[in-house]
């Protein structure tokens, strides 16, 4: 680990440097400094949800019909942890002079294309969250207040995941189209999420929701087995009928053939073998009939809400822009 000490140029006191922070103030002479560390600037989406509100959001999500009905009433909430997940936000423009198609004798035209993308700056392996829907983050970014990156304060509130941003600066020619990346901007965006930990009959579950707007990212619980139980009961009843019929036929056959106790011993061996097989395969067959199968809901809960918000917001704002550009009057909200 590389340790760098920087001293105040006025009083010589060491400056309180925090990774990711570009401005600092000397604790002794109060002189402010700008520190160009070559690190990307970072911003944090304000966490508007308290732990209680996040817990209420998870409670509401656990009422999903796919989760066991009695799960909610017997759930014991253990803790709520705030995580700050870093995302790399890259924006830029590629522009430059390129040989024009119709131009003769070295004619050049100016062309440009802008790009923007968002990618996780951490692999999320530190938490039990495999995938974080990018749409949730983008919708939250449009809506959220953005607050400056203050690592010490963030660490007091929750867990700040480390960021490993990629260097996005790529300058060079692309085939015959000579365009340089003339503007590239990388920024770290810390997205706050709540991890709600709860237990049900000794089993621990974790659910995640956005601390910006309460959008559920992932809900974990036990699968609702009512339907499965009904199917299992009907299946067992049918199987018992067939088995009973089969045994009766076998007894009839044995009584007709009159071969002595040998067939009965063979039949007993077969039943014992089946029982042994069941005992061996039980851990694997358990999941078929178990009541405690976990369910992880991340798709429908979060994506539907995110898309509806995004579509609504984009439509509303694009309509406004078109009206402003064309000079059309605003719609009457009462209509």
């Amino acid at each position: 680990m590389k340790v760098t000490l920087v001293n105040c140029t006025h009083c010589g006191a060491p400056l309180p440097l925090v990774p990711g922070q570009c401005i600092c103030r000397c604790a002794y002479c109060r002189n402010p400094y700008y520190l160009d560390q070559g690190q990307p600037p970072a911003v944090v989406l304000a966490d508007e949800l308290s732990a209680q509100q996040a817990r209420a959001a998870v409670l509401a999500a656990l009422r999903d019909p796919r989760i066991e009905p009695g799960f909610l009433s017997r759930t014991f909430f253990e803790r709520a942890t705030l995580f700050y997940i870093p995302f790399s936000e890259v924006r830029g423009i590629k522009a430059g002079w390129a040989p024009s198609e119709a131009g003769k004798g070295g004619a050049y035209t100016f062309s440009h294309v802008s790009f923007e993308y968002l990618e996780p700056a951490n692999d999320l392996s530190a938490i039990s969250l495999e995938v974080l829907d990018r749409n949730i983050v983008e919708a939250a970014m449009l809506r959220a207040r953005q607050v400056p990156f203050r690592p010490a304060e963030m660490r007091r509130r929750g867990v700040v995941l480390p960021a490993a941003p990629r260097n996005p600066v790529q300058t060079g020619a692309e085939g015959h189209d000579i365009r340089d990346t003339v503007e590239t901007h990388l920024r770290l965006v810390y997205f706050p999420i709540w991890e709600i930990t709860y237990s049900y009959r000794g089993m621990v579950f974790r659910s995640y929701c956005s601390a910006v707007d309460g959008a559920m990212i992932m809900v974990n619980g036990l699968r609702n087995h009512r339907r499965k139980l009904m199917l299992a009961l009907v299946g067992s009843f049918s199987l018992a009928l067939l088995l009973g019929r089969g045994i009766r036929i076998a007894i009839n056959l044995v009584s007709r053939i009159r071969l002595g106790p040998m067939p009965l011993l063979v039949a007993g061996g077969v039943v014992a073998g089946a029982a042994l097989t069941w005992a061996v395969l039980y851990p694997y067959l358990w999941r078929l009939f178990a009541f405690r199968e976990e369910i992880s809901i991340s798709g429908e809960l979060s994506t539907l809400r995110t898309i509806s918000y995004r579509e609504g917001a984009l439509l509303r704002f694009s309509r406004r822009f078109v009206r402003r550009l064309t000079g059309e009057p605003e719609e009457d909200p009462g209509q």
Partner: protein, 190 residues
């Protein structure tokens, strides 16, 4: 790793900005200092008066204004082939610019000439787009403007550069521009 002082070089007061800022401001001396190149570069700062009054909270948003002269090809019938125009480029980034539009482009195309006033005691939005980044856009704007007239920009010269603070209103989760009255979601202006 460079350490640059955030004291105004003229009045020695603390300059305004936050952790994301690349341009810091001194209201009393009306200057903006750009740190984006790893060295201090000073530019004049102006504050404009709002055209639209609203009761909401106000914040200053910084814009780069480049006065440029550019030539196009082919020339007009009267032989005119050059003009001078101000180009407004936001000193902040706009998220999803294709959806929400580039407000600098609209200011530029409308040829805004707002009234100047004394700086008010209202907070300023961080400006994280330095002059080097913003200087790309006059060419981009001029190209798109002249392309609509079937002309090509062949040369662009920078005459002067300044920073301008434009008041924006904070209304719930939206920022409202005080010159045109346009609305942006608060997370779109970053």
């Amino acid at each position: 790793m460079k350490l640059l002082s955030l004291k105004c070089p003229h009045c020695q007061l603390d300059m305004e900005g936050d952790n994301n800022s690349r341009v810091f401001f001194c209201r009393s001396c009306r200057i903006g200092v750009d740190f984006s190149r790893g060295q201090e570069r000073e530019f004049p700062l102006e504050c404009v008066a709002p055209e639209i009054e609203r009761p909401d909270a106000v914040r200053y948003f910084a814009f780069w204004v480049f006065h440029c002269r550019y030539r196009w090809d082919p020339p007009e019938n009267a032989g005119l082939d050059a003009c001078t125009a101000p180009f407004w480029v936001p000193a902040f980034f706009i998220k999803n610019i294709s959806y929400f539009g580039d407000i600098g482009l609209y200011y530029t195309n409308r040829g805004l000439a707002p009234r100047e006033e004394r700086c008010r005691r209202i907070p300023a939005f961080p400006a994280d787009r330095g002059e080097t980044h913003a200087a790309v856009y006059p060419m981009v704007y001029a190209t798109s403007r002249e392309a609509a007239r079937q002309r090509q920009v062949v040369e662009l010269t920078f005459l002067s550069t300044k920073l301008v603070w434009v008041p924006f209103y904070e209304s719930g989760h939206e920022f409202v521009d005080s010159l045109l009255g346009w609305t942006y979601p608060s997370g779109a202006l970053i």
